[in-house]
Structures are given as structure tokens and as C-alpha cells.
């Protein structure tokens, strides 16, 4: 089929000292910090949606989940994270992150975030590391801080690839989803902060409810994909994140379990965490176990499983509903629209689709303590950065601060790179070829069709929900082969308009992420994280051979993914399997 001619996009050239890709939790904080350190620098944010309400924080937050309360230390936190992550995390990164967390929370409180206090004026605790907040407007607060720092934000613009000069990132390309405009942004230093990836696997709900999910369905792994294509070293993709959530509405359960003391029960009323998983910590077992356990209960015929809320008084139920309004208001609506009274009826739970996300698990760029990636001039912060599996909102702020410091220093010591004309031409072609203009696209491969194919295949062959998250090498090899085919098919993708062009690049990025993920899943021949990474052919944890990180690098010329082990470095003494 001959492709009709389309209008050539207008090219907009921008020069920045520091470019920040993604105006979310980490990106906003990084931008403000960079500007604070050196007000003379030109800091620019490129943002896929609108900075006021984009990304994971769109709906708000009701708690800060990483905070050092009195009596805790960076070391005690690192021990906790290491145990949570089944004995493996980047201890150096965890330590450097946690040291920045409390000042970051303080700063956001000064920007106007209502933080709840106890009678003595201390932050109100919810669990060991958590602070209660009224965070409905959290994203607006961060965006306001960016605006007050006079940082230009290029909204509604999708970053597509890094601009490279040899092994150094000298900026990034992007396209507007509002006008026919292609951005060529040159930067002395770049911070990638795009978030993680949902939508790699078949989600919990079909059809009209396919985006009724917890992690932002608009976080499509762009930052990972850009790094993968540029040959950056990535780590720990095999540690997928499967969240324990309220079934169907996929609402967070921390509010129920930590905030309202609801234990897990199966259909027989047994509190299985306390019995079958006592040796791993019972109700307080590591996060992977808390989702592995109910999955096993269902698989072995003792489901459905619930969080038992029947001890709650009517007043507490009201508090519970209010609590969700600050973060996930659709949960409060869900209860009302299903006639569920949590004081009479327990709340059914399930695992989510597997996400790739560095803020809850540790998939992401391999970085050093300054959050510098293996590419020159490129720093990573937040969900897209690897190694720290217990980051959440305040940890993303901390990483934004650390990355900003390093980027400011790098931008001060380096000049702008050169941008080759061939590189621009190639990227223009790659970005806009699928765009055919309205009404001319019938008959081609639409992004949703390829997305569904990818998700179904990953579900079946790479351990999705329908397979109780279990996988084996034979099926993973099928996934590897199929992804190669999907990558070829992606060349036939077409878009009717700029919104759909974004969806085209979303699915292209997701396939690149899925390829690296499958290689990581094949490579680690043990079961390190039950549930997150259950290998039926290697069911045991094997410290002798697999205590360490699985890292990878895609050759940007041949496209071949090189995968290798990196040894573990223990910094904080003690038993790695104890908190």
C-alpha cells in the first residue's frame, strides 16, 4: 500500500543547560533543585501530558511511604529494604537515597503539602516508614514549585529518543501531540525521569475497564526504551512488580492493611499469612510474599482471598472512604457502586498485571551514587532508575535532588555536543512515518491491536496473571521469538492523528522494554522473588550462583542484547534475610 504524503513537521530547536525528561515526582524535584543550585542555568522540562496533573500522582497521595522516623537510621532502612527485596538491593544507592528523604519531605511541606501531625507535633505515622498526608493536590504543589522557579515546561510533548554524540547523550528528540511540531532539544546534561512501564502484560480488567489499573497506564516505559535503544546498561528487569490490590478496582491495599489493620484471610477464614508464612514474617512478610501467598491460596483452591475489614466501626469505615479520596477516589466510588460495606464484608484482593518499575522493584538504569547512567551526560531518577526497590514518592524526590546535583556539575564542566543531520533525519522518519492523517489509515495495523497482541502473549508465555505469574524457559523462549516478530510488525503501525501517534510510540517502546524483560527472565536461573519472578524450572533461591544483579546492554548497531551478572556488594552488615 502506498503511503499518502503527509505534512512535514515543523522543527523547533531548543538549547538547554539541563534537560529533564518527565515532569513527574522525580523530574519536578530535580528541576527545582538544579535551578536552586545554579539560578543561571537554563533548565527545561519536557512532559508527555500537562505537568499540573501528569503521571502517577494525578489523583493524589494519602501517605508518604518512605520517611526516617525518630529511632531509625539509614542503615536500619537499608536492612529493611534488603530484606523486603529478598536479599538483593543496591545498598549504596539505598543509603544515599534515604539520607535525602527527610529534607525533601520537609521541603514539600513548606511548599504547602498538608502533613498530618500527632498531639506532640510529630509527623503522624502509618506503619514503620510512613507519614499520613492530605495529598490530593500533591502534583499541583510540585508543578507550582516548578513554575515559581521559572522553569520552562514543554507540555504535551512525547520524548522519543536521546540525541547521541558517540557515547554521550547531548539532548533528546520529541514530538508534540498538540501541533505538528518536532523538537530537537540540545542539553549539556540530561536527566531521564519518565517513570516505569505498565501495559506490558494483559491487565486485570478487559475491554472498557482495561485502564482500571493502579500504576499509570500512561507510563509506557519510554525512558527505559530510549535508554535501551541508546545502549545504556539496565539492571534487574526480572524483578517485576506485582502489586497486591483490591480486586477489580485495583486500588492500593496499604491503606487497608497498614492504615486500618486488615489481615489477609482466605475463603475458609484462615489468616494464612500468620500460619503458612509465619517463618517469613507473617502479615509483615516481604512485599513479594504478600502477593505470592494469596495467589497460591487461589491456585490451591482456598480462594477467594480478602483483606478482613469486618472489625471496623462505622466511624472507621467513614475514615477509610475519606482516606481513599486523597489518593484513589475511584475506590470510594467503587464501594458505593457495589454496595460494599467494609464493616460487614471483607474486601477481595488480587495481584495486578506485572509492571516494570524501579520505585517499587528495582528495574531500571544502572547508575552510580550520583545517579549517573553508563551513558555520558545522562542521569536517571525515580521509577526509571534501578537498584532501589523501596523508593516511592519521597525516594523519587531524593533521587531527583541527587541527580540534579550531578547534572548541574556536569553541565558546568561541559559544552553542548554536536547534533548530526543524519540523526535528525532518521528520527523524523521513525517518529512520523506511521502518521497518515485522518481517514486514510483504515486497513493498517492500529496501535491498540498490537498492544493487545503483546499483552496477551506476555501473559501466556512470560508469567502473567492467567498463569499465576509462573514461567519456565520453554515458554520464555516462545516469548523471545514472538517479540522479534512483533518488532517487525510494529513497522506497519499507523496513526490517524497525533494522539494515536503517541499510542504508536507507546507500543513500540513497550515492545523494546518487553524484549529486555524476557532476556532477564530467561537469564536468572533461580526463583529469587516468588510471585514477581516464579521460575517453575528453577524453583529455589540460589545464593551460591545468583547472589547479584542481572544487567543488560543492547548493542545500538546490531540490536543484540548482551546480558551478564554483576556481583553483589554488601555495605550494611548483618543477615541479608532479616530486617
Amino acid at each position: 500500500m502506498a503511503r499518502p504524503k503527509r505534512k512535514i513537521a515543523e522543527q523547533e530547536h531548543i538549547d538547554a543547560d539541563i534537560l529533564i525528561i518527565g515532569g513527574g515526582t522525580a523530574g519536578c524535584m530535580a528541576a527545582v533543585e538544579a535551578k536552586r543550585l545554579n539560578p543561571k542555568l537554563k533548565v527545561v522540562i519536557i512532559e508527555k501530558a500537562h505537568i499540573d496533573r501528569s503521571g502517577c500522582l494525578a489523583g493524589g497521595m494519602n501517605a508518604i511511604n518512605v520517611y526516617l522516623h525518630p529511632g531509625e537510621t539509614p542503615e536500619s532502612f537499608t536492612r529493611y529494604v534488603r530484606w523486603q527485596a529478598m536479599g538483593i538491593c543496591r545498598e549504596d544507592l539505598t543509603l544515599s537515597m534515604i539520607k535525602e528523604v527527610n529534607p525533601a519531605v520537609k521541603r514539600v511541606e513548606e511548599w504547602g503539602l498538608p502533613v498530618l501531625k500527632d498531639e506532640k507535633g510529630n509527623y503522624s505515622r502509618r506503619g514503620k516508614w510512613n507519614v499520613n498526608i492530605n495529598g490530593e493536590a500533591l502534583k499541583l504543589i510540585l508543578a507550582e514549585a516548578v513554575a515559581k522557579s521559572k522553569i520552562p515546561v514543554i507540555n504535551h510533548t512525547v520524548a522519543t529518543n536521546f540525541i547521541l554524540e558517540g557515547n554521550r547523550v547531548v539532548g533528546a528528540f520529541g514530538f508534540s501531540i498538540r501541533e505538528n511540531k518536532f523538537y530537537i532539544i540540545r542539553a549539556k546534561a540530561t536527566i531521564v525521569a519518565t517513570g516505569g512501564a505498565s501495559g506490558i502484560y494483559l491487565p486485570n480488567n478487559p475491554g472498557d475497564a482495561h485502564h482500571t489499573m493502579w500504576y499509570s497506564p500512561f507510563n509506557t516505559g519510554a525512558g527505559y526504551a530510549m535508554g535501551i535503544r541508546a545502549g545504556a546498561e539496565m539492571t534487574s528487569f526480572e524483578m517485576r512488580f506485582i502489586a497486591l490490590r483490591v480486586k477489580d478496582i485495583i486500588a492500593p491495599t496499604g491503606t487497608l492493611a497498614l492504615g486500618f489493620g486488615a489481615p489477609q484471610v482466605n475463603a475458609k477464614g484462615e489468616q494464612y499469612m500468620k500460619t503458612r508464612y509465619a517463618h517469613l514474617g507473617g502479615e509483615g512478610a516481604p512485599t513479594p510474599i504478600r502477593v505470592y501467598a494469596p495467589t497460591q491460596e487461589v491456585k490451591e483452591g482456598r480462594g477467594p482471598c480478602y483483606l478482613d475489614t469486618r472489625h471496623l466501626s462505622p466511624e472507621r469505615v467513614r475514615e477509610l472512604k475519606a482516606s481513599y479520596l486523597d489518593m484513589y477516589p475511584q475506590m470510594t466510588l467503587y464501594l458505593a457502586a457495589n454496595r460494599i460495606d467494609p464493616s460487614k464484608q471483607p474486601i477481595e484482593i488480587s495481584g495486578t498485571e506485572p509492571y516494570v518499575v524501579g520505585g517499587h522493584c528495582q528495574a531500571g538504569y544502572w547508575v552510580n551514587e550520583n545517579r549517573k547512567t553508563t551513558l555520558g551526560g545522562l542521569f536517571a531518577a525515580g521509577d526509571v532508575a534501578g537498584g532501589v526497590p523501596y523508593k516511592f514518592v519521597s525516594g523519587c524526590w531524593a533521587e531527583g535532588i541527587i541527580a540534579a546535583r550531578a547534572a548541574v556539575e556536569f553541565a558546568g564542566a561541559n559544552k553542548h555536543g554536536k547534533i548530526g543531520a543524519t540523526q535528525v533525519k532518521r528520527e523524523l522518519e521513525r517518529v512520523y512515518t506511521p502518521l497518515l492523517g485522518d481517514k486514510k489509515a483504515d486497513g493498517g495495523l492500529r496501535p491498540k491491536e498490537l498492544e493487545e497482541k503483546l499483552q496477551k502473549m506476555m501473559d501466556e508465555y512470560a508469567g502473567g496473571i492467567s498463569k499465576f505469574y509462573e514461567m519456565d524457559e520453554k515458554r520464555l523462549l516462545v516469548a523471545r521469538r514472538t517479540l522479534k516478530k512483533l518488532k517487525k510488525q510494529a513497522k506497519n503501525l499507523i496513526a490517524k492523528n497525533l494522539h494515536e501517534l503517541m499510542l504508536v510510540h507507546d507500543v513500540i517502546d513497550r515492545i523494546d522494554v518487553a524484549q529486555v524483560l524476557v532476556e532477564h527472565l530467561i537469564f536468572r536461573k533461580e526463583t529469587r522473588w516468588p510471585g514477581y519472578q516464579t521460575k517453575l524450572d528453577y524453583p529455589e533461591l540460589d545464593d551460591e550462583n545468583w547472589l547479584g544483579f542481572v544487567n543488560s546492554r543492547r548493542d545500538s548497531k546490531t540490536g543484540k542484547i548482551k546480558i551478564f551478572k554483576v556481583p553483589y556488594e554488601q555495605v550494611v552488615p548483618g543477615d541479608r534475610y532479616k530486617p
Partner: protein, 105 residues
Amino acid sequence: MAIVIDKKTCNSCGLCAKLCPGDLLALNPKSKKAFIWDNSDCWNCLVCVKHCPVGAITLKLPKSIAPYDATLTPEIRKDKIVWTLIDSDGKREKFEIKRKAVGGA
């Protein structure tokens, strides 16, 4: 079903199209009224509902996960957000929650 836009009430301000985190909303070039590209892509995050200055947008959860009609209406006031929840039996509850006075958008 995800959001329902009352075309009569919509004042064509475009705030919903500006703020939707998934770029799912736009203004119809002819009628200038807001529409959603694909209702099934909605994340149910309520951002458009909260920011609509004329209350033209309502969130309806997909029927496959929430079969009965219930409504949740946010109203941003200066330093708080007021939520009205009406469950499927018509029972009404109000919640007032502290919030920084930040307009946004």
C-alpha cells in the same frame, strides 16, 4: 463507560483536555464541546471531574466492575476539597478534606 460529559453544560474552556494525564480529551473543532477519544482508555483518575469549572463531567465506573449507579462529586474550594458521595441506594455522605490552596491550570 468512564466519564460522561454533559454537552449542554460544557462551557468549552478546554481545561479537561489540557489536564487529562492520558491526553484522552479534546474539544470538537466544530461544536467546541469536550469529547473523549476513547472511553475505554480512561484511568478513572477524576482529574477532569475535579477541574471542570461548571461540573459538566461525571465519572461512571465501567459497568463490568461497578454494576450499580453511584456518584462521587468533588468540589475544589479554596483550602479544601469537598466530596459528595451518593451510593446506589441514594444514601448521601459528605467529606471535607484539607488541601493546599493551589488553583493549578
